[in-house]
Symmetry: C2
Subunit: 243 residues, 2 copies
């Protein structure tokens, strides 16, 4: 049973300010109230406000100018670089302006492939649960994703699990595990023939392949992921901010 804890003040302020930017309470290119004003209005300390503003600035969502003020970055407003960011495919599709849908291709327990066993640090006889899904953007196939989890982590049977969940929610719900960090390798390659057919895509065109491993805070590998990403439909866009 998940424990419901009250959300931290920082979390609440975080949600509130992002909502205001999204709802144009603070319009694109416009200025936010000063840190002191926000702190006073919300009844929190300036340090708390600054924690949130620092996060938003790191994602490029706002631009901070010493001696002047804090401004909404109109160029970034529509990009979702938040928690989950590029790793939650449904959300990624949404933030690209499409309606997301998930088609489960297969969902089964099986022996791991050599690459999977190595990535997950599994012994010879351990099994895995493999979730193969196709993510659609406005009905068009955009991402073909395979996620492999050590079977020992699952607390329920494969049949009773919801294959529609984003992978971090899946792990929370069925494994009681929290993803702490992920390592992703990006390559350009060709889609295997059967996959190209599913993506309704010319197999002679190059496609992006993402190879990912997700770990928990104890450095235990939780998921091995292999995703083919059709950038003709979906932009793979990253934002990096400094200072």
């Amino acid at each position: 049973m998940p424990i419901l804890r009250p959300r931290s003040i920082v979390d609440q302020v975080n949600t509130l300010l992002r909502q205001r930017v999204h709802d144009r309470v603070y319009p694109p290119g416009g200025r936010l109230p000063s840190e002191s004003e926000l702190a006073h209005e919300l009844g929190v300390s300036r340090a708390t406000v600054r924690t949130v503003l620092a996060r938003m600035a790191a994602e490029g969502l706002i631009l901070r100018k010493q001696g002047d003020g804090t401004y909404v970055n109109e160029r970034i407003r529509d990009i979702d670089t938040r928690y989950g960011g590029m790793w939650d495919f449904s959300r990624l599709i949404e933030s690209n302006g499409f309606r997301p849908a998930i088609e489960t291709v297969t969902f089964e327990r099986r022996a791991p492939a050599r690459q999977e066993a190595r990535a997950l640090g599994l012994a010879g006889d351990a099994e895995v649960v493999a979730l193969v899904r196709l993510f659609l953007a406005d009905g068009r196939p955009a991402i073909f994703a395979t996620n492999v989890i050590p079977a020992g982590l699952l607390r329920i049977g494969v049949d009773s699990a919801d294959g529609q969940l984003p992978i971090h929610k899946f792990l929370q719900t069925y494994c009681g595990e929290e993803i702490k960090y992920a390592v992703s390798d990006i390559e350009a390659t060709f889609a295997p023939p059967d996959l190209a057919r599913r993506l309704t895509r010319d197999a002679s065109l190059p496609i992006l392949r993402l190879t990912e491993i997700f770990y928990n805070k104890n450095n235990r590998p939780l998921v091995f992921g292999l995703s083919y990403y059709d950038h003709a439909i979906l932009r793979l866009r990253l934002v990096q901010a400094w200072g």
Copy 2:
């Protein structure tokens, strides 16, 4: 003339702790001193230590466990996800374990291409300075990068500028501009024939293309970049941490 300001305390602690991780003063997988101990040892407040540790944790360099301690992540130790990260190609090559070198292909003032003018928001008659470079890893061509800067930003002539500088240093030195954030699109494509020749690479193999725009804090576009990235030589690896 650049103003030399004393480095902030946070900056100094940041450098020190990263150095200690790199030098294995805190060994891979090992535990760091507690926040209070570090604060006392370095003569700063706990909040200052926490600011630095939060940054390192966001890059996956350390793992923090409430009620337990802070540990060096042995899996991430060698990956450079710091400032500059994947955008400083020389550093990227170095952190992949190769000796970096830069070969300047062309460096000239010219009229912008349509895509360049649009990205940089230039009027019809404005010119640009284009810096085309080949980045070598242990002598092997790994990245072919074109960087285009509005000519109006340059404070000196093209001939007297150092083409070996990373792009953010170049802007600091010759334009007095600071990069605040960057937006990058990643695609899989084929290298144009002349470029494949320079990369000594089979033109029928797919390659990664990065299209980037760098902005300053006033949201003014500073640089348009188009880079071809040979992932057969260099891994394009990203680390993302949560919590």
